[in-house]
Symmetry: C2
Subunit: 189 residues, 2 copies
DNA sequence: GTCTATAGTCCGATAGAC
DNA sequence: GTCTATCGGACTATAGAC
């Protein structure tokens, strides 16, 4: 038997999401989150640097998955296709947590401060993808442009996926978004 | 004669930029900014909702310029070209303030919190561009994809422009970035 | 685990412009 | 009189220091 309940981090994350949904992000104090998780405010700040960060777990795992997928992609793969491979490799992570993703996104969409943080996380992932492409010998600015295009395609696909009543395949939505993006940037129209 | 020195807002903006450069964003308090501008902390918060916002004046002007340019673009112009027209219309705004833009960007680049805010402002501009395209009859998701592609091209161009020792033309850098972006998304390679 | 600085809010007061 | 810009003080919660 251990002295504390296990999984303090997970309990804080769950308590925070629940409270943000119940009464809104601004109306929730860190003290309340900690109380509901059976911990103290101080402990909250040991796990998360601030009140927003508690919603963005899984970021690190996603980053590693992207980078690893890019590292192991066939050498001949074009930059943009390499990025798509990485995005598709992460699709199961989302499919397995559809309801959680939906709830989380609803909270974020209701608060500009959380949207800021989400954008920063997305930019950090784009930077990691850019770096992984560079390591494969992709020159700048092609590396960062390919990463950014991938982010746009994913963002577009995710927005549709997360709130659809039916359950479309995220991979397919990504490919669709990318196709539309290609059509837009094609010169011959 | 009025009771107060004129342009309280401008004085606060200048004082804030100077202090953020001198000692860093985190090491600067709102009280110090207000003091240097000859005002009180309370007055600072009447003009700006928070400490970051003071760096992002001009945002509204830029938004109006983008929207107006899109509204008045020739009907036959393709979505992506309409966006480029808008971006180019705003180029003089930057060319006229190169040194200020440089200083501001250096402060932002040194602080994640400010980067968050910058990303949110950029997203807000993209949303305004998307909306302006929709009003011209551009369907979704083409409207938002075109806006996002424009944002990427501008971001890429701006990053090069703002720190070049020589003074390249921002318009040309935007067109170059867009060309590279088109090459990346082209299927035939 | 306690203590503290500071961001950010609220309500109200005041002084001049119109 | 009304409107607007500044200031004052009290207050809470975040976040970091010790």
């Amino acid at each position: 038997m251990s002295r504390w309940e296990p999984n303090a981090r997970g309990r804080l994350e769950q308590a925070a999401l629940d409270l943000y949904r119940e009464r809104g992000f601004d109306q929730t104090t860190v003290t309340e989150i900690a109380e509901r998780a059976g911990l103290t405010e101080r402990t909250f700040f040991r796990y998360f640097t601030d009140k927003r960060e508690v919603l963005f777990w899984g970021q690190e795992r996603l980053r590693e998955l992207y980078v690893r997928t890019i590292e192991t992609a066939p050498e001949s793969t074009a930059p943009i296709d390499t990025v798509v491979l990485a995005l598709e490799a992460a699709v199961p992570v989302f499919h397995e947590r559809r309801e959680l993703a939906r709830q989380r996104q609803a909270v974020i969409d209701a608060n500009p401060g959380l949207q800021e943080r989400e954008l920063l996380k997305r930019a950090a992932l784009a930077a990691a993808v850019t770096e992984a492409l560079r390591k494969r010998g992709v020159a700048d600015p092609v590396a960062s442009l390919a990463a950014d295009v991938g982010v746009i395609a994913f963002k577009t696909a995710f927005a549709r996926w997360v709130n659809s009543p039916d359950e479309p395949d995220l991979s397919q939505l990504i490919r669709e978004a990318l196709d539309q993006l290609k059509a837009i940037t094609r010169d011959d129209r």
